[in-house]
């Protein structure tokens, strides 16, 4: 390891991201974005970074991360409604609970290989969706969703507008920094080894399952933070938070941006929300159809997503 590198050199990506993120309220309106959407993009950036550790690095495609996103969102909502308007205890309880659930789901779904994993994560997320609609209706509000929360407060500051944005942006920067640290750590190496050849890794005497479970829990932890922040940003939880559409969106964002790069999925998240809320003004309600087509084109022709496009362009410029 090169210890001579300065902090700035090592964390160039994080610093660039921090500058772009913190200045977002200045430049985002110039391209048609509005206040609030930037907050949402920050929140989704948190989620997809964690998701990428699982999908891009470890190679496990989860179709059920809406479960952790949604459970954290509901818990935050209930905390803000029945406990107090303070966001810190609400977020902590939500993230702890959601992460605990991920331990159980992880133990069950990681029993088998990749294909099973995708199917089973999808199934368990659907189970929580069904539960929110039926047996937990009294708490979740069922079809109508959870409303009537107190104004979220951080100490004595009201969590509204720009405050929520900077709160989310700072958390996003920290979480991106942590993900970068994980990427460089021995655990990060294990993740890539699992993706590369799990059988061979196991023959070297390493317990791959342990690392798979760890990655799964880390990614669920990221999803839980995003879910909790979503409710702080907008005090409403709908059952869609737990639905397969939601899980599908995480997958779409990550893949379009380019998995295995951490930066790519964040690009994808930004692109997708921008596409959905700004560009879709011309397409109307069929934005998902066009996004689906873009997604398929990416998977077929450019599996590396936007990041692959960028590096291809770079290569072309360098050759000239």
């Amino acid at each position: 390891m090169n210890t001579q590198q300065s902090f700035f050199e090592r964390n160039r990506a994080v610093i660039i991201f921090a500058i772009i993120a913190l200045l977002m309220p200045l430049w985002f309106p110039l391209i048609g974005g509005y206040q609030g959407l930037d907050t949402k993009i920050m929140i989704m950036c948190i989620l997809v970074v964690g998701f990428d550790l699982l999908l891009g690095y470890t190679g496990y495609l989860s179709f059920g991360h809406a479960a952790f996103f949604g459970i954290a969102a509901y818990t935050t909502g209930i905390m803000l409604k029945d406990f107090s308007g303070q966001v810190i205890p609400a977020i902590v309880v939500a993230v702890v609970l959601s992460t605990l659930v991920s331990v159980v789901i992880g133990l069950l779904t990681l029993k088998r290989t990749g294909i099973y994993f995708s199917i089973l994560t999808l199934a368990f997320a659907e189970m929580f969706h069904a539960m929110a609609m039926a047996m937990l209706q009294e708490w979740t509000g069922g079809e109508n969703g959870l409303t009537g929360m107190m104004t979220p407060m951080l100490g004595s500051i009201k969590m509204q507008g720009a405050v929520v944005f900077y709160f989310s942006a700072i958390i996003a920067i920290v979480m991106f920094y942590l993900a970068k640290r994980i990427e460089r750590s021995p655990v990060g190496l294990m993740m890539r080894a699992i993706k590369c050849n799990q059988t061979r890794l196991e023959y070297t005497g390493i317990n791959a399952r342990k690392y798979k479970l760890l990655t799964f829990i880390i990614s669920a932890f990221y999803a839980a933070i995003a879910g909790a922040l979503m409710v702080v940003y907008e005090p409403f939880v709908g059952h869609e938070f737990l639905g397969w559409h939601q899980s599908g969106e995480f997958v779409l964002m990550s893949v379009i941006g380019g998995v295995g790069t951490l930066v790519g999925p964040m690009l994808g998240a930004g692109f997708m929300l921008y596409f959905e809320n700004v560009l879709s003004a011309d397409i109307g309600e069929h934005w998902l159809l066009f996004l689906g087509i873009i997604f398929m084109a990416v998977v077929i022709f450019m599996p590396g997503g936007f990041m692959e496009a960028i590096s291809r362009l770079q290569a072309r410029f360098n050759n000239k």
Binding site: L61, F63, T113, G114, I115, M131, H286, G292, F295, V299
Partner: protein, 300 residues
């Protein structure tokens, strides 16, 4: 709450069989495609979706009889086209890519149908001969008093049984089926023997889509016709495949009926019936991870 009379038991048994028969039809196509091509088809629910919308449109315009013939045929061709045009390029790519591309296709198909037909339920009129009820007590003398069951649902059960029997006959009584079964076990060896396995597997993909077509024609009036139905059916059908054992046709049938029965017999308790499928999945995963009839070492 739990009615133990013979009539109630019989009705729940029938309902379970009826719910299960749709799962079996969807899962049969899924497991066939998985077992032969090793592809997890997330677009299989979307194929069902295409089938029900086609069935509604054709039967409204030209009558149900034509829909009955045309829809499975169109789905068969669609399956072939899908395999040739898309899936074949993914055989050598990671499983996640296969899942991603079929998932993308599912979204595109679903959104396209939503655009054409709207997001709301489209009414699917049952043909004249399928309307009405069957007097169950006339057929089964052990029932007490007056027991009736919708005729259409009974037809659906019969169609499923016939379809399953046909698929088993095809696989176990014909040379084509023999080659397919050999290919499921050891595709490499078959290639060494000079058999063109790819063309046959392509036909299997078409067959899987065709079964979804049959399910759509008969299941449409029962499951409703709306863009969400595809995914709603796909999740339990996936679980049916997992519970039965991936790539096992017998397992798919057994698990499909098991899930149908479980849902029917817990219907009195909404809380239990919403999660019973997942409970069964968890138990099977813990006790027998390869599924009820899953072969040892196959796709583990």
């Amino acid at each position: 709450m739990f009615d133990l009379s013979i009539n109630a038991f019989f009705m729940q048994l029938l309902t379970g069989l009826q719910i299960g028969s749709i799962y079996v039809l969807i899962a049969l196509g899924l497991t066939l495609i998985f077992g032969t091509l090793g592809v997890v088809n997330f677009a299989h629910g979307a194929l069902y979706l295409v089938a029900i919308y086609l069935a509604v449109s054709i039967s409204d315009a030209f009558g149900f009889g034509l829909a009955l013939v045309l829809v499975p045929a169109i789905l068969f061709v669609l399956g072939l086209a899908m395999e040739r045009g898309l899936i074949q390029y993914f055989y050598n790519r990671p499983h996640t890519d296969q899942i991603l591309v079929t998932f993308g296709l599912a979204i595109v198909i679903q959104e396209l149908l939503k655009w054409i037909f709207g997001a709301n339920n489209v009414p699917f009129a049952i043909p004249q001969w399928g309307n009405g009820i069957i007097m169950m007590h006339e057929w089964f003398p052990f029932l007490e008093g007056f027991v009736v069951y919708p005729k259409w649902r009974m037809i659906l059960v019969v169609v499923s049984i016939v379809t399953v029997a046909a698929v088993f006959a095809l696989l176990h009584l014909t040379t084509f089926g023999l080659v397919i079964r050999a290919g499921m076990r050891d595709p490499e060896m078959l290639k060494f023997l000079g058999v063109n396995i790819n063309r046959r597997f392509m036909i299997v993909f078409g067959l899987g889509a065709m079964i979804a077509g049959i399910a759509g024609v008969f299941g449409g009036p029962v499951t409703q016709v709306s863009p969400e139905v595809g995914m709603h059916l796909l999740v339990p059908s996936f679980l049916v495949v997992v519970i039965g054992g991936m790539g096992s046709l017998g397992g798919a049938v057994l698990a499909g009926i098991l899930i149908g029965m479980a849902q029917s017999f817990t219907a009195h308790d909404i809380n239990l019936s919403t999660i019973i499928v997942y409970l069964i999945t968890v138990i099977v995963l813990l006790v027998r991870p390869r599924g009820l009839l899953g072969a040892k070492g196959v796709f583990e």
